[in-house]
Structure formats: C-alpha cells, structure tokens
C-alpha cells in the first residue's frame, strides 16, 4: 500500500490539527526548532515503526508533521524527544538517529526501552519518545482509513468515515 499526502491529511483531520495541503509552516509562537531535523527523524523512525508493505511513508509523515507543527506545545515536546533520541544514537553509534541504518535505528529505540514503555508526554525519555515519536506515528497510521484498511477496518476509531461501513458485512 502506498501512503499519500491525502492519507496524512485524513489522519490529521481526525486529530484536530492543521491538515492543509499547503507547504511547510513554522511552528508559531514557539522557540525556533530545527524542523528539518524533526522531519528527518520521524521519517527515519517510520521506516522502523511502519509495516514493510506500506510505501510513501516520507510524504505521509512529512504532511502529518506539518499539521503537528501548528501546536507549539507538541512541537516543544517532540523537539525534546528527538534531541534525546539523537543523543542516544550519538552515544552508541556516533551518528544522529536519522543517519543510522534501519537496523541500528531499531536498536537505539530498544536500547532506551521505547518498545516496552507506556507513552507519557511528561515522563521519562523512553516514555516521551514513545509518545512523541513512536505512538504519534502509529496514531497517524492506524487512526487513518489507509492504516485501517491494512487491518480490515475502513472506518477506524477517530476517523469520521460515515455510517455505512458498520452495517456492511465482510464480503460486501
């Protein structure tokens, strides 16, 4: 399955953030952040987090991030989580997270226990990386119709997909 910008816009609409089809916007009212670094990190993390049968993740993630950038509080938390992710990557591999191989990226996430952590936007490093990086990517995918389709639900929770699908049988 190839993910598109429109899939990302659908995901954003369900979360109440942005979702325009215009270009990248800087986060208003917040401390300057390196948006390119956030984008590269999330796209790199998506290579680990998303299933191999989806493609087009870079466009999907970049568009989703555009919407998230409209929330300064979220941006600040994301920036902090990405910084700590990069610090761990530098410590173990002397490279930023986004510059690592997919295998090494996954190992960095596991090194800081992100796989077993519960998400918490104000918690430990692993809990914040889980919230702002891993779970935000999972939320974008699996609360969208594109991600739902992978699992067999056209109208996943959080998406305003109408009243037809709940009445349909599996072979309809």
């Amino acid at each position: 399955m190839k993910l598109t910008r429109r899939d990302a816009v659908a995901a954003l609409a369900a979360l109440g953030v942005g979702g325009t089809l215009s270009g990248c916007v800087a986060p208003p009212g917040s401390e300057p952040v390196d948006v390119d670094r956030l984008r590269e990190t999330l796209v790199a993390a998506a290579d680990v987090i998303y299933p191999s049968e989806v493609s087009g993740t870079a466009t999907f993630v970049e568009t989703f991030l555009e919407g998230r950038l409209e929330d300064p509080t979220h941006v600040a938390g994301l920036d902090e989580a990405v910084t700590e992710l990069d610090d761990n990557a530098m410590f173990w591999h002397d490279e930023r997270f986004a510059a690592l191989s997919v295998t090494d990226r996954e190992q960095v996430l596991r090194n800081i226990d992100v796989d077993t952590a519960d998400e918490d936007p104000t918690g430990t490093t692993s809990e914040r990386v889980r919230y702002y990086v891993v779970n935000d990517l999972l939320l974008a995918l699996y609360a969208s119709p594109a991600g739902g389709e992978l699992v067999g639900i056209e109208n996943p929770q959080g998406h305003p997909g109408g009243l037809a699908s709940y009445q349909r049988g599996p072979s309809a």
Partner: protein, 534 residues
C-alpha cells in the same frame, strides 16, 4: 486546551428570578424553559465552559493511553476529590464530567423510557418503593424530552411502554454484528429491537447527522450526539446568564426559603447570587453534598433534610457482560454506539430478580489503533498482531437495577477537603443480593446467546467483578410523605418553598434503563411547576 476566559465577569446577576445550580441536562433544560417564559435566569456551574473547537483534541486524548477518563474533560483532582467507603469502590471521577454540559459531554447517549412497572416497584414487584407519580404522569414529558434531546428510534420494541408519536428521527440501522446476533437470538426466541439514541441519525435541530467518529464515549467531535451545551446555549440566547467555574459553597437560607447561593470564583472571591427560586441540578452526588454542606441551626443535619434522607438510597445500575470471539469477521469498532438491545426479560422482574436489559455491542474487543498504541511491537510484527486479534470479537452487555438501600449513600468526609476547604463527598456504595443474583441470570442468558452464536467465551463481568454504569440516582428521593422523602411529586423540596431539585437524585427507584431521558422529562416537569409558582 484552555477552558474558559479567566477574566470573564462572574459577578452575580441582579434581580434574578431563578438561580439554577448545575449546567448539565437537567439544569440546561430548566433554564431554557424558564428563560423562554421571560424570566431572569442565572446558571452557576462549578466546572468550566469548554471550547467546542477542542473536541478533536479531546478525542485524541480519548484514544491515547496517556490520558485516563478524568483527564479527557479536565477533571481536577483537588476540585473533584472524593472518598469511596462502601463495600464496592466507586470511581466517581470516571463517572462524571464537570463543566457546562455536565456528564452528557462523555455519555453514551442511550435514552429509553422507564417501564410502567418501574414507577410501582413495591406494588407490582414487592420490593423497593413506589414513585409518587406514574408513567402516565411523565408520559407527555417523555415525549417532550425526546423532541428536546433529539432521539433516533423506532417503534419496534414490543416490550417498551406505550408511546403516542414516532421518535423525532428514524433509528440507526442495525449493524452487521447485529445480524449475527439476530440469527442466534431467533434460535433462542429472544427478540431484538432498536435502541433509542440521543444521536442524530439525520440532521436535526441545527446539528449534523452522526459521521461515525467511533469515540462517542468520551467525546463526540461532530456534535451529532446530544449534550447539554445545546440547552445551555439556547437558554443564553433567551437571556439566561451562565457563570462558569463558580462552585456553589453553600445555600444561605431561612426556615422556609433559600435566600442566596454563595459561590466561589477563580479570583478567590466569594459572591452571593440571590433569586426568587432555586433549582439544584447537580446530579446524584453533588446535589446531596450541597444540601449537607448547607447545614444550619434550623437544619442541623443538612438543608431540606427534615426527613434525614438527604444522601441516602444512592443507587447505580450494575453492569453484566459476556464476550468472546468467533471464527469469522464481526466488523467491530466502526461506530461507538449501540444499535440493538433486548428488553424481553425486563418485566419478569419480581422480589427475587431485578429488571434488566440486554445490549449487543458494536465495539467488542480492542480497536486496532488502541492495540497499536499499547503494544510492545511495531512494524510487521505489530501489523500481524492487529490482523490476528482485531475483527472477530463479539460482546454483550446488560444493565441491572439495584434497589434503594439505606446503607448505600452519599455523605460528607470531613477528613478530606476540596480546593475550597469543603468536606468531599463520600460515595458509600452497596449493592444488595437481588442485583447480584440478577447479574448471574443475565450472564446465563448471555452465555446461551453466545453459545448459540458459536462463540468462544473469553471474558465475563459477573457478580464478583461487576461495576457501576455511572448512573447516580436516589439521594434526594421523591415522595408524597415528607418524613420519607426529600422532594414532592412537584420536585419541590418538602422543607423549602422556593427550592426544586432536577436530577436523577429524585428517583425513588432506578429501574434498569439509562436514566437521562427520565432526568430530562423530570426537568421539564419541574420547569412547569416552577412556572406555576413564579
């Protein structure tokens, strides 16, 4: 998500005719009716006014595991502190939302009328007590309440009490999983029928039809599900004033009348709202708490409490459920509401078994996004798990009546205080054997249906692990005798000439139907009685 304007004018309204305390469905409906009649109405609400533009962000909170139920509508642990001292823990802040709209902000939205026998439990079933009014007394108010809330329903329930006109909107169509259940229920001769929903199946009253976000509990982002902001805003358009973040601390009174509601504001000030009439509409917990906090030399046991029954007879509905998996797709979690129930066994209730209803879930089992956010896996492993674990669940619920019991009550816990120094409510919840015995019967029926369906049963909520349905009732009961009740059939307190209570707290018994339509009907009845007196 900032709630309300901190700098808003929260000073009292001069020359108010009516002060309504609480901006939930009861308070909103009463305020709307009284403002419509031209009266000067002020509503005092302890919680904030939420910005409707934040609904989607609250929905995200509802989906994400980082936020528990109280956090979704900004519950404040100091403001909302409470004690739970009964034999069963009562999760009060999971059960309510505080703010303009009240608990309808997070409710499911199921709106049935009580059955005729519910109003005469003692006479017909031999237990509990009779209401001082009958179904026929409330029937026109039920019809009016259905129009006010906007109810989608059908006349296909052979067990429902008589009605005089169709529901305002057509019922939601059955789900795919309803069709699976229907086959099993046919084999067992159990009738299924539609569910009346306070949720737009088509555009109604200026609100859009449901678009299927699937997160009805705890947030409807589209506004298709009714919540009490509808009537609070309507009352404001008719001239009523809403003062939010204004918890009433006590009611100043003489022997026969309330003179003023003393309320606090975020700036630390205290104000007195005077009015000719007062309506307490704070639900089954905060209503008795406010009366108990308003004790005086004349009412040493609490205001309007000559009967000694304020706070007593706290009731909820008990949940009973059974679920499992099939070896075929069941198409769950597309929507967050129910489309089919069975009330077939409801009126078999007697002294030994309580009335109960059966529900057929459309959201059995976990949703894929919920599983994704809480697992220890990602990538292909996660997708494989989602495909394996989503899609074949089935589930049934049921609500069971509990009888009013003197040892089930809401009191004050003086050892703990809220953010204004007031003793917190103590929810002392006890259930009773009749309800627990009935839960076993509900489970047996659910097991028969699931067996007939060919399901492997994987979970059950029964007598040991049952919990409340978050329907607070009974703590200022209605009755004819002032020694055995707090309010009369006109919803006015026996003790005070200018104080009415609009709330599920006046229910003498609870039945087993979701209570909000009855709350709304009683609120409209209360409004009529108040208008007669003003």
């Amino acid at each position: 998500m900032p709630a309300t304007d901190t700098d808003a004018d929260r000073t009292p309204v001069g020359d108010a005719d009516v002060c309504v305390i609480g901006a939930g469905p009861a308070g909103g409906l009463v305020a709307d009716r009284l403002a419509e009649a031209g009266h000067e109405v002020v509503i005092l609400e302890a919680g904030p006014r939420f910005d409707s533009a934040d609904r989607l962000a609250r929905q995200e909170r509802g989906i994400r595991p980082a936020y528990d139920r109280p956090a979704i509508w900004d519950s404040d642990p100091e403001r909302d502190a409470y004690e739970s001292s009964g034999e069963r823990f009562y999760p009060l802040n999971h059960a309510r939302a505080r703010g303009v709209g009240g608990s309808t902000l997070h409710w499911q939205g199921m709106v049935m009328r009580l059955h005729e026998a519910d109003f005469n439990s003692a006479s017909i079933r031999g237990v509990g007590t009779d209401w001082p009014i009958d179904y026929e007394d409330l029937r026109p108010y039920y019809a009016a309440a259905e129009r006010e809330l906007g109810v989608a329903g059908a006349d296909d329930n052979p067990f429902a009490p008589p009605r005089e006109e169709p529901h305002p909107m057509p019922a939601f169509r059955p789900s795919y999983s309803d069709s699976l259940f229907a086959e099993a229920c046919d084999g067992l001769e159990i009738a299924m029928h539609s569910v009346p929903n306070a949720r737009n199946s088509e555009a109604y009253d200026g609100r859009n039809a449901c678009v299927g976000y699937g997160t009805c509990q705890p947030v409807c982002p589209s506004g298709a599900k009714y919540d009490a902001t509808v009537h609070v805003k309507r009352a404001e358009r008719k001239g009523a004033t809403v003062i939010d973040r204004a918890p009433v601390q006590r009611l100043e009174h003489g022997p026969d009348t309330i003179e003023a509601a003393v309320y606090a504001t975020p700036d630390g000030e205290a104000h007195r709202q005077e009015a000719d009439a007062f309506v307490i509409a704070c639900g089954g917990v905060e209503t008795p708490r406010l009366l108990l906090l308003s004790e005086s030399s004349h009412y040493p046991d609490g205001l309007a409490n000559s009967s000694g029954l304020v706070g007593t007879f706290f009731m909820d509905h008990l949940f009973a459920g059974t679920g499992g998996v099939l070896d075929e797709p069941t198409r769950q979690n597309h929507v967050g509401f129910l489309t089919s129930e069975s009330h077939q066994f409801y009126d078999e209730a007697d002294a030994e078994y309580a009335p109960f209803k059966l529900e057929f879930f459309n959201y059995a089992g976990p949703s894929p996004v919920g599983m994704a956010l809480t697992g220890d896996d990602w990538g292909d492993d996660l997708l494989a798990r989602l495909r394996s674990e989503y899609g074949s669940h089935v589930g049934m619920g049921g609500l069971v009546e509990q009888l009013p019991r003197e040892n089930s009550y809401v009191g004050l816990d003086a050892s703990t205080t809220d953010d204004h120094g007031n003793p917190v409510p103590d929810v002392h919840w006890n259930v009773g054997e009749r309800a627990l015995r009935t839960i076993e019967r509900v489970n047996e029926i659910q097991e028969r249906i699931l067996d007939e369906l060919g399901a492997e049963i994987t979970w059950q909520v029964g007598r040991e692990n049952t919990g409340p349905a978050y329907h607070h009732m009974g703590t200022t009961r209605m009755g004819d005798d002032p020694t055995e009740s707090v309010v009369g059939p006109d919803l006015r307190t026996h003790d005070l000439e200018n104080c009415w209570i609009a709330s599920s707290s006046v229910f003498p018994t609870g039945g087993a139907m979701n209570p909000t339509l009855t709350i709304a009907a009683l609120a409209l009845k209360a409004a009529d009685h108040i208008l007669e007196r003003l």
